[in-house]
Amino acid sequence: MKRRTFLKTLGIGAGAFMAHNYLRPRRAFAAADRSFVFCYFRGGWDTLLSLDPRDPNVFTEARREETRIELAWDQLPAGYPRTILQPSGSNIQFGPVMEAMAPHYEKMCVARGLSMNTVAHDVGRRYFITGQTPRGNTAAGSAVPTRIVAQQGDQSPFPNLVMGAETYNDGLPAFASGLTVNSVTDLVTSLTVGPGAPPAAVRDRIAAYRDGKPLCDPVGHDRRGLLTRLGDSQIKARELVESGLSSKFAFANANDSEMTALRSRYGIQNIDGVPAQAAAAFQALKYELTQVITIDATQNLDTHDGNWATDQPDNQAEGWTALAQLITDLESEPDPTRGGTLLDNTTILCFSEFSRTPLLNNRGGRDHHLATSCALIGAGVPGNRVVGATSDVGMTPMAIDPNTGAVQDGGTIITPTLVIASLMQAAGYDVTALRTDGLPCLMA
């Protein structure tokens, strides 16, 4: 939208603004572009409870020394099933905390037996976020969302929105850098007129001044378009705060039927909690605020002690339940630009820095374990598929046939790099920086 058109619209349409309450931003995505949601399960998840379960009738307490796997599902709080969940027609077996996710098996691919090569939180997290083995404790290269947005281009107000997680930009265009907000509250602040701002009429007049004022140095300073970009950003920022988009994230607003419905669907109790982040991801994609969003999908899962039996299942289940609702919403929301539904054009990756030991430690908790799993959902993902496995003794990573995903001696060990390369390559993005191609079995 041209600056003058925008200002004119503001002036003429103030009344209409009040009536409609928000202005849907223009459709920004190119038809071929894909949206992404990265869900980080913080702290190291117990995959036995979720993505890589075992049958409790086979992996019994009596066989613990033989299998080196101890389910201990009898210690879980009441309400969790004590069996593997596998809907009819599903090739994927789910653990007891994934009851909400199981119905989405057709859109989902689970990769098991990933080798993380680390049991350090920072290293594992940065390995998955960048798709590259960290240098010591330091992230190597840019975050995957940054890489994707760098290839997509600057197409939305917050192209790479990061909520409460880490992000890195190592030499890629600045627009691709993750715009970090710590919480939904911070996101709302970003979309709201600041405290102490002048009245709307004065803001309009300042905007008109900016519009009419000649650029201070169009030849020198604007040679690379800096002044033009600043002017455009000021307009964009104003569009955002005036558009009422903040109301789309005001989950506590009891007077807004959309918020009430979101609160009910996601079970939002706290505006900065995990369900609110999932709801924010949906709203951000629905209203095209972002191209790629990263959310912190759980509270801490680092359960070394007796809290494993309570916090691990409850926190994981909270994350999976919120994610299941996000998938349901994306699946039911039409995408007028790209066709189909939002989920048809969105890929979701769920990951954690590593998993937890298959045996309980002497404090009743689980420590860090090298082999883990991850879940891919949505566009470009081979649905209803399990790729790879961990062994039935001690849950070690097993090599696979890269084409079929079946376990194969002497095959390929899955790593975060291969998962990220598959995710990007399936969407048509360049993976040269990752120095590997994706696994055919992980690409639809």
Partner: protein
């Protein structure tokens, strides 16, 4: 050297000069007239008119490119410009410096998650600059209104002389000197002040001018 050989050698040298630039690199435009006799006593005007090539717009030939002010530059400049006043935000009931609380959002590298500053003037940056300007200008104008006679003013330099105050602010915030009696480059600001003052009073008028100047490219870009 025998004079007999001088003329042919000189002719050969001139021929060579016609197809190569003085530093020896090939002339990319052989039809262009070159004057490889810069050591002669000829004056430029003796050469007649010269072909001046326009500067290509996509080539950096006249100095460094413009940059956005970094978060740290803003963090350190604003208190200097406003006698210690800076941007503050309230976080969980505590007042904190906005440039620190929002440093990552504004693009400052922390060398843990981000190893380089993001100095792109993004919409998020522009939004928070508006917030910063509102906060700082509010405080500065309040301080001016509470100042006793003779005390230096931060924004409203001379309440009775609007143009003098605009000249003062232009120099202070943008580093642009406007001589006494001149209003060059001040017309738009004056119109802004007059319009807002007519509708909302002088205090809001100065408030709007302060915000406009604090978020102007003359301050944010350098």
């Amino acid at each position: 050297m025998n004079l007999r050989w001088t003329a042919p050698l000189l002719a050969l040298a001139m021929l060579a000069c016609d197809t190569a630039t003085p530093d020896g690199t090939p002339n990319e435009n052989p039809t262009e007239t070159l004057y490889p006799d810069e050591w002669a006593h000829a004056m430029p005007e003796d050469r007649g008119t010269a072909t001046i090539h326009p500067t290509p717009v996509d080539v950096d030939v006249d100095g460094r490119i413009a940059r956005r002010m970094s978060v740290d530059q803003l963090r350190r400049s604003i208190p200097v410009l406003f006698d210690g006043i800076t941007w503050t935000v309230t976080v969980r009931g505590r007042e904190q410096i906005g440039f620190d609380v929002l440093s990552r959002t504004l693009g400052e590298a922390d060398y843990i998650q981000a190893t380089s500053h993001n100095e792109e003037p993004s919409p998020l940056f522009a939004k928070f600059m508006d917030d910063m300007a509102s906060d700082v200008c509010n405080k500065a104008i309040r301080a001016d209104l509470e100042a006793t006679a003779g005390e230096p003013r931060l924004v409203i330099h001379d309440e009775a002389d609007v143009d003098a105050t605009l000249r003062f602010l232009r120099l202070k915030l943008h580093g642009i000197y406007v001589p006494d009696g001149s209003t060059e480059g001040l017309e738009d600001l004056r119109a802004l002040y007059d319009d807002v003052t007519a509708a909302q009073g002088t205090q809001v008028g100065w408030f709007s001018v302060c915000i406009a100047m604090l978020t102007a490219p003359e301050l944010i870009a350098y």
